[in-house]
Structure formats: structure tokens, C-alpha cells
């Protein structure tokens, strides 16, 4: 977009003060507003990871797209995975506009993904070996995502908020899509129920990890910066607790178990008490050492390289001499 050039007479300090005052008043920041480099960098980090996770997140479910068991499920899961790609598109567009002043583009994001500089969500490094996993991803992984994204709806960065509003509207369909698969299996044959139980057991540690390590009283500088800038408003643990409150009872209502016999809600503290997942393993997974990390990255990278000629071609269309 073009605008008239404006020359601000404020010093950097005054700009920073004005910016923080806007945040405190609950105002939203637009892409072309002045913002501190730190705010921009926090946003780029958060939103590019969120966006690329949607793109990578399409892959585990995509494994089940051609195999979905009925015509209706085939259509529904195609639409669902398509939405995930669409969410990636929305978020990457937001990240790309933030990176533009730094001279970076989507191409750089893709390269960062391939070199491991840009990480994606732990859950999408995991295996999805049965049809029940397609259901559990829709129900619980998307359920976890809804909790995180809903919290971010009132983020101070307006373009992110607009993207999230679109995303949350569709996530409701995703959760229902997942619930529908899960209920069909839960109400089905013994073999179907067993398939689902195994999937819940398999995904449980990853679901706990989804929200990131607990703060244990101290929050990281990243988190506190994000909260100061009102990019996010709740801690990892608060989000995880909200997830447990919503989903643990439902898992029990269906007659399934969790691989954590001691999990319970402690009335006194108003908190769920649960066994911590292996946070050391978590670090390795997001570094790209999960069971399916290499496979999925390879899938993404080969398809990107194989189709480079297409992007080159359409970019030069209409620009040939003569």
C-alpha cells in the first residue's frame, strides 16, 4: 500500500512510550504502525511458528485423507486438512507482512523450516498410525489449539487477531469433525474402541506438552514480554489446566483411560494434578528428533523443491520479451 510519507518528530524513547501507552489502553497495533523491534520480533517468532505448524500439521492427518473410511468422511477430512493449509496461509501472510521491513519473504520461512531454524509444534512430529489418530487429532489436538487460539483472540496485534477470528470459526468445525470420528469409534465394535484407546494413550504425553513447559513460579523472558505487549494473556499452565478441565471428564465419560492413574482434580487448589511428561524429550522433539520429524520435513521439502519450476514459471508469465 502506498501512503504519503510522514516524518515523525518523536525520539525513539518517546515512540516507545507512546507505543506502550497504546498497549495499556487496549488499542490494537496495525502492520504499518511504529512498533519496537522487540515487539516485531516476538510476533514474527510466534506467528511464523504458528503458521508453519498449521502447514506441517496438515501432514499427519493428510496420511489418512486418501484412506478415510466412508465417502462422507473422505470429503470431511479433505475439507479439514484443506482448512489447516488455509490457516497456515492466513498466518504466514501475517508473518510475512511483519518480516517485510526486514527484507524477508515466505521463501525465507520455508528455507528456515528446512534448515531447522523455524520450529513447528511438538504434536506434528508424532506418529499417526491408525484411523483413530485422525479422530484424536481433530478432537484433542484441535481442542488444545482452540484453547490457545481463543486466548489469543484479543491479542494487541490487529492482523493476528483478524486471522485468529477466521481460524477459530473454522476450528469449531474441526473439533466437531474430530468428535464425530471419535464418537463413532467409541460407540463401535470392541476393535474400534481398542483402536481409539490406543490412540488416546499414544497422544496423551504430546497433548500435555502441547502448551509448553510449566512455569513453576518463574516465567520465561519470552512469556513475560508477550504478556507485557498483550500478545498473549495466559501462561502455559493456565492453558493446560483449561484443557484438562474440558477434556479429561469427556475421556472418562466414554469409558477410556489415561496413561496416568493418579490424575485428579484437586478441589483445594482448584488445579489438576497430573504426571509431568518428559520435558527433556519435548526439547528433542521440537528440535526435529521426533519419530516422524524427518519424514514429514522431507515430504515438505521434496514437494517444495519438485514444484520450484512451477513457481518460477508463473512468476515469469507475461514478462517474456516480445
Amino acid at each position: 500500500m502506498q501512503t504519503r510519507m510522514e516524518h515523525s518528530e518523536l525520539t525513539e524513547n518517546e515512540k516507545m512510550e507512546a507505543f506502550l501507552a497504546r498497549i495499556d489502553r487496549g488499542e490494537k497495533i496495525e502492520a504499518d504502525d511504529w512498533m519496537p523491534a522487540d515487539y516485531r520480533n516476538q510476533l514474527i517468532k510466534l506467528i511464523s511458528m504458528h503458521g508453519i505448524s498449521e502447514i506441517m500439521g496438515a501432514l499427519p492427518e493428510k496420511e489418512w485423507v486418501p484412506k478415510a473410511p466412508t465417502l462422507r468422511r473422505k470429503l470431511a477430512i479433505m475439507a479439514k486438512v484443506q482448512d489447516e493449509m488455509g490457516h497456515g496461509q492466513l498466518l504466514l501472510r501475517v508473518a510475512e507482512d511483519l518480516m517485510a521491513p526486514l527484507g524477508k519473504t515466505r521463501e525465507d520461512l520455508m528455507q528456515d523450516l528446512f534448515t531447522g531454524r523455524l520450529k513447528f509444534h511438538n504434536v506434528f512430529h508424532m506418529e499417526a498410525p491408525t484411523w483413530a489418530d485422525a479422530g484424536v487429532i481433530g478432537w484433542l489436538v484441535d481442542g488444545a489449539a482452540i484453547i490457545t487460539q481463543t486466548m489469543s483472540l484479543d491479542t494487541s496485534y490487529a492482523p493476528y487477531a483478524r486471522a485468529l477470528h477466521r481460524i477459530c470459526a473454522e476450528e469449531k468445525f474441526h473439533a466437531q469433525h474430530g468428535e464425530s470420528i471419535v464418537l463413532e469409534l467409541a460407540e463401535g465394535t470392541e476393535a474400534q474402541r481398542q483402536m481409539l484407546q490406543e490412540s488416546i494413550t499414544r497422544w496423551w504425553p504430546s497433548l500435555l506438552m502441547f502448551f509448553g513447559p510449566p512455569e513453576n513460579g518463574t516465567i520465561t523472558s519470552n512469556q513475560s514480554a508477550n504478556m507485557r505487549y498483550k500478545i498473549r494473556s495466559q501462561t502455559n499452565e493456565e492453558l493446560r489446566q483449561a484443557f484438562l478441565t474440558k477434556y479429561v471428564p469427556r475421556i472418562f465419560h466414554l469409558g477410556f483411560t489415561l496413561p496416568d492413574e493418579t490424575i485428579h482434580f484437586d478441589e483445594a487448589s482448584g488445579q489438576w494434578i497430573y504426571q509431568q511428561p518428559d520435558w527433556e524429550a519435548f526439547k528433542l522433539i521440537v528440535k526435529g528428533q521426533g519419530p516422524r520429524s524427518a519424514h514429514r520435513l522431507n515430504l515438505r521439502e521434496t514437494s517444495y523443491e519438485d514444484t520450484k519450476w512451477v513457481r518460477d514459471a508463473i512468476m515469469s508469465f507475461g514478462r517474456q520479451a516480445g
Partner: protein
């Protein structure tokens, strides 16, 4: 137009119209190499569930707008009731008064005859 290929795709803003009487509304932006490709991808990226009657794509570079410093100047004083219906809130009461007075007169004339 040069003969050289571009390095990156352009940003296109997508606008859509829900039905024939609704206005065009901005949806979102997408990356595309040219307007033809942008248009073929627009509906599926932003309107997979909503009705869509018509579509526009506009290259972002071709949009001219206000800078962040200028945008606050759009704010107005709240002293323009003469432009709005709420500035004419007394009319109904006045019409009612005229109607009542007239009906009273008619009543008197009837009982007087």
C-alpha cells in the same frame, strides 16, 4: 515491463460481495504471481463456507491509503447531530400534539352540535 522474472510473488488483497445488494468487503490477502492466478485462488482461500456473489483482487501496491500518523485525523467531534436522525428526536412528539389537538376540536364540535 522488463524481461526479467520477478523474485517473489506479489500481495493481492481480496474483496468479495455476498449478494447483489451487499457492498464489497475486504477479506484478506494472498500471494500470487499475477492477477489471473490471484483471482482463481481467492474464493477457496477465504470463502469456503460463506456465500460469494462476486470477487475482486487488487494488487496491494496499487492501493493508496492513509499513513498511521494520518489515521487519527479521521476522528470527529461528536457535534453533528444535524446529520443524523437522533438530531430530530422531537418531531414525533410534535406531530402527536397536533393530532391530539385536532381530535379534541373534532370531539368538541361533535358534542356541541
Amino acid at each position: 515491463m522488463g524481461t526479467e522474472a520477478k523474485k517473489d510473488f506479489d500481495i493481492y488483497e481480496v474483496f468479495s460481495q455476498k449478494n447483489v445488494t451487499s457492498s464489497f468487503v475486504h477479506q484478506f490477502s494472498l500471494l500470487a504471481p499475477n492477477k489471473e492466478v490471484a483471482l482463481t485462488m481467492a474464493r477457496e482461500n477465504f470463502l469456503r463456507r460463506e456465500p460469494c456473489f462476486n470477487l475482486w483482487v487488487v494488487k496491494r501496491d496499487d492501493i493508496y491509503g492513509l499513513s498511521p500518523e494520518e489515521r487519527p485525523f479521521l476522528e470527529r467531534l461528536d457535534n453533528k447531530s444535524y446529520r443524523e436522525t437522533k438530531g430530530y428526536g422531537d418531531l414525533q412528539a410534535r406531530w402527536r400534539k397536533h393530532k391530539e389537538r385536532y381530535e379534541e376540536q373534532q370531539q368538541k364540535a361533535k358534542s356541541g352540535s
